[in-house]
């Protein structure tokens, strides 16, 4: 085997592996990426049961209910319309998880139509806004920022 050929073969193998990695990535990204849903989207076109997605919206006033075990919480998430999605979460709630504030729930839709969240992202501080909430309209975002942030004067 000539030197040139060996280099060529090396380059081809390397390229194949990298392209293979790229194709694998593209394929599994299509399957595994967590798509983001607003409540109205989830109501009109729900994701498959068990598929990992994110649901983002506002915690509906008066909807937070703690179950008797003390760690499971049920609440409703609303968006720009009247649609509300019931969410169930077991775990320690983020500190600024309160009614009428923004939240992003990671999890999947259960067969009973309840969204089972494995993780809740709420505002940690004035510098952190769940990125997905940015598209909720500037007015809403500004309103939410002023309402849900401690110490930020309107």
């Amino acid at each position: 085997m000539k030197a040139k050929h060996q280099r060529l073969i090396l380059v081809i193998i390397a390229l194949l592996a990298i392209v293979g990695a790229g194709l694998l990535a593209a394929w599994s990204l299509r399957n595994q990426a967590n798509y983001f849903y607003l409540p109205e989207q989830m109501a009109s076109d729900p994701p498959e049961v068990g598929q990992a997605v994110r649901l983002g919206g506002m915690v509906k006033a008066g909807s937070i209910k703690t179950m008797p075990d003390g760690v499971t919480v049920d609440f409703m998430v609303t968006g720009n319309t009247a649609d509300a999605i019931p969410v169930r979460y077991s775990g320690i709630l983020p500190d600024l998880f309160v009614e009428n504030s923004g939240v992003v729930a990671e999890g999947s839709l259960g067969p009973d139509g309840v969204f089972v969240a494995t993780n809740l992202l709420a505002k940690h501080d004035e510098n952190y806004v769940p990125k997905e909430l940015e598209g909720m309209g500037t007015e809403q975002a500004a309103k939410m920022a002023s309402e849900t942030t401690v110490g930020l004067k309107p």
Binding site: M1, I18, A25, S28, L29, T66, D69, V150, G151
Partner: protein, 662 residues
């Protein structure tokens, strides 16, 4: 005055970067063996520039130490009441300060290269320093034009607005500076690669010059990632040690590229093979460093690390990124064909195994890169996605598993060409260990597939790491080989920790009334009381948890939920009980309406091995550097002695001098 000195030092350093660049170009244009009169300024320019950039950083450090509130950066990121250590570390806990640190380290490493590196031909050195100056100039421009750290306020602020409490931690004191030093150490590897490519000097001598820089940067990156992972584990209070967060990926990608580069530069130094491949990895590694800086600093990602959400800065860094990476790959494409072919090797040889793992590392890099950038790409089309462990874990494992297997046998193979039959016994042993451990563990319970495989591979790797020492006299094994053994063993240890954490972790989440007890693993955890406590700039509620193992003496754990007042923010301080075989991790949550407290407990067997493994890997790198430096020094002394002896012989006259062996 302090701020003005710092700013002036920065401008002067930028001017010297121009001088260094121009002078380096003149060195490049000089004919072979000649020295251009204008080329002599490159080295001194690099050294003085380093001193000035460090001076600028020290000035900012001083401004933070005395809390000079007339400087905008200090006023918006510090607070007079903050503990002194966090005043200091706050210097790099913000956008401008961390970029100044970046540039300072860049200039310092360029200065060290210029001051101490005498082995390279002058033309290559000139080209290298020109590239280094060009890179530094771009980042000086970024600092001075779009993120001046020394900007004054028209009226000094009465009080600073404080530092993000998540960053008020001793982890911040070491994590960013080590990571940055690692990132930027790769800039020297990049400049050297470009210099060698431009002057067609890609050869083992060049590889020996490049190797300590790559190794050093790699050690710092390893250490920085390990520290960052542990920081995220105990400070964020989520119980995880790796989140595939884009910012974490930004530090992992240069590490993957640097790992590949470190191995290929060793092949180039030892065997004179893989010439263009090494150059390509050198360019790739620093590209990943700059991409990481772009991802973290531009605000395209929202996380605790993105201090600045400022599109102008993002565009500036993206421009620099395009200029350097695009330029480097253009030169690479134009010049790569001109690099002479290196030595050849068979598929089954140590080089072959190293090439295979280099390709696997690059494939993992591609997986991580695409997964990190994919949400940014789809967002341009208004589709919002997030990519997490369900993608990264299996996709990376597809390439990591063959890589680990080859890593186990690779060091046993001979250079250039070998027969697989020669290491039959070792291969059988490794295969038996993988299969045996998996069979044994799945006999005792059913666990997820990847952690199970990880356990098998960890056992095999742990044994395989020491196989290269078999049949050798341990006192005569070179230090660098010990480095390899330690680093490979560290990989096994870390993999063992990860697999155990994945397979055997137990979690308990409950609402507990004071006096109540929860059982997790062998531990009975009793909530004794919950009381308010206060610190220098925070208040907290603190739980007193009495932990008894198998009914033994209680150990107190005090997890806190802290509220900082400047800036107003809450954090969860986890409490850890470390045993030799794992950690108990406790977090306190909210109080339920009926007065019970939410307590979250994890028992994570052998989780600490993840970070012990990381430290072992870094230690291996340090040993490798020490070994190489010792050999280099010995060689230098031997060459000097040889020259002396030849001179003596010449002085005697008549005896033909022997040709020195390389």
């Amino acid at each position: 005055m302090i701020a003005e000195i710092g700013l002036a030092a920065l401008w002067l350093a930028a001017a010297l970067a121009v001088l260094q660049m121009v002078s380096g170009v003149f060195a490049l244009r000089a004919a072979e063996g000649e020295i251009n009169p204008l080329a002599i300024y490159a080295r001194p320019a690099a050294v003085v520039q380093a001193a000035l950039a460090v001076l600028a950083f020290v000035m900012l450090l001083y401004a933070f130490a005395v809390t000079d509130l007339s400087i905008k950066l200090v006023a918006s990121n510090s607070h007079s009441m903050k503990p002194f250590i966090y005043k200091i570390t706050g210097t790099w806990g913000n956008h401008e300060g961390s970029m100044l640190l970046w540039v300072g380290v860049l200039a310092l490493s360029g200065g060290m290269l210029a001051a101490f590196e005498r082995r390279l031909p002058e033309r290559t050195m000139g080209a290298t320093l020109a590239v280094q100056g060009f890179v530094a100039l771009g980042f000086y421009a970024f600092l001075l034009l779009s993120s001046n750290p020394f900007e004054r306020l028209p009226v000094p602020a009465a009080e600073g607005s404080g530092l993000n409490p998540l960053l008020q931690d001793i982890g911040l004191a070491i994590h960013p500076p080590t990571l940055y030093a690692g990132y930027v150490g790769l800039s020297v590897a990049f400049s050297l690669a470009m210099g060698a490519l431009l002057t067609r000097e890609v050869n083992p001598a060049f590889a020996r010059v490049m190797r300590p820089w790559v190794l050093g940067a790699w050690v710092l990156l390893t250490f920085g990632i390990t520290a960052g992972s542990y920081w995220a584990y105990y400070e964020l209070g989520w119980g995880g040690w790796w989140f595939w967060d884009p910012v974490e990926n930004a530090s992992l990608m240069p590490w993957l590229a640097a790992t590949a580069l470190m191995h290929s530069v060793s092949v180039l130094a030892a065997r004179d093979a893989l010439r263009t491949w090494t150059i390509m990895l050198g360019v790739l590694a620093f590209s990943m460093s700059m991409l990481g800086t772009f991802l973290v600093r531009s605000g395209v990602l929202t996380s605790v690390h993105a201090f600045a959400v400022d599109p102008e800065r993002g565009a500036f860094i993206l421009g620099l990124l395009g200029l350097y990476i695009g330029g480097a790959f253009t030169i690479f494409a134009l010049r790569a064909g001109a690099v002479a072919e290196g030595k050849r090797f068979a598929v089954t040889s140590r080089e072959g195994a190293l090439v295979f793992n280099n390709v696997m590392l690059s494939a993992i890099l591609a997986i991580v890169l695409l997964g990190t950038l994919y949400p940014l790409l789809t967002e341009a089309f208004d589709v919002r996605v997030s990519v997490g462990p369900p993608y990264f874990n299996p996709a990376a494992a597809i390439f990591a598993i063959p890589m680990f297997l080859v890593m186990a046998v690779g060091p046993l193979l001979r250079w250039r060409s070998d027969k697989p039959a020669r290491i039959q016994f070792e291969m059988l042993l490794i295969a038996a260990l993988v299969i045996g451990v998996i069979a044994l563990v799945s006999f005792f319970g059913s666990y997820p597939f990847l952690p199970l495989l990880g356990l098998g591979l960890a056992a095999a790797l742990g044994v395989a790491a020491f196989l290269p020492l078999r049949g050798r006299k341990l006192t005569r094994v070179p230090v660098a080989t010990w480095g390899m053994v330690f680093a490979h063993f560290g990989v096994a240890v870390a993999l063992f920790g990860m697999a155990c954490e994945g397979a055997f972790s137990q979690e308990r989440l409950a609402a507990v009334a004071p006096g109540g007890t929860e059982q997790i693993g062998d531990f009975a955890v009793t909530l004794e009381s919950v009381a308010p406590v206060a610190g220098p700039n925070w208040t907290a509620i603190e739980a007193r948890l009495a932990v008894r193992q198998d009914g033994g003496e209680p150990v107190m754990l005090n997890p806190q939920a802290r509220s900082f007042w400047s800036p107003p923010q809450s954090t969860s301080e986890s409490a850890l009980l470390t045993k030799w075989n794992g950690q108990l991790y406790a977090v306190i949550g909210n109080q339920a309406e009926d007065g019970r407290w939410q307590i979250r407990l994890w028992w994570k067997p052998f989780v600490t091995f993840i970070w012990y493994g990381g430290l072992l890997i870094a230690l291996g790198g340090i040993l490798a550097i020490a070994g190489r430096v010792r050999v280099d020094l010995k060689r230098r002394v031997a060459v000097e002695k040889g020259a002396q002896r030849r001179a003596d012989l010449d002085g005697l006259g008549g005896v033909p001098a022997p040709v020195p062996a390389e």
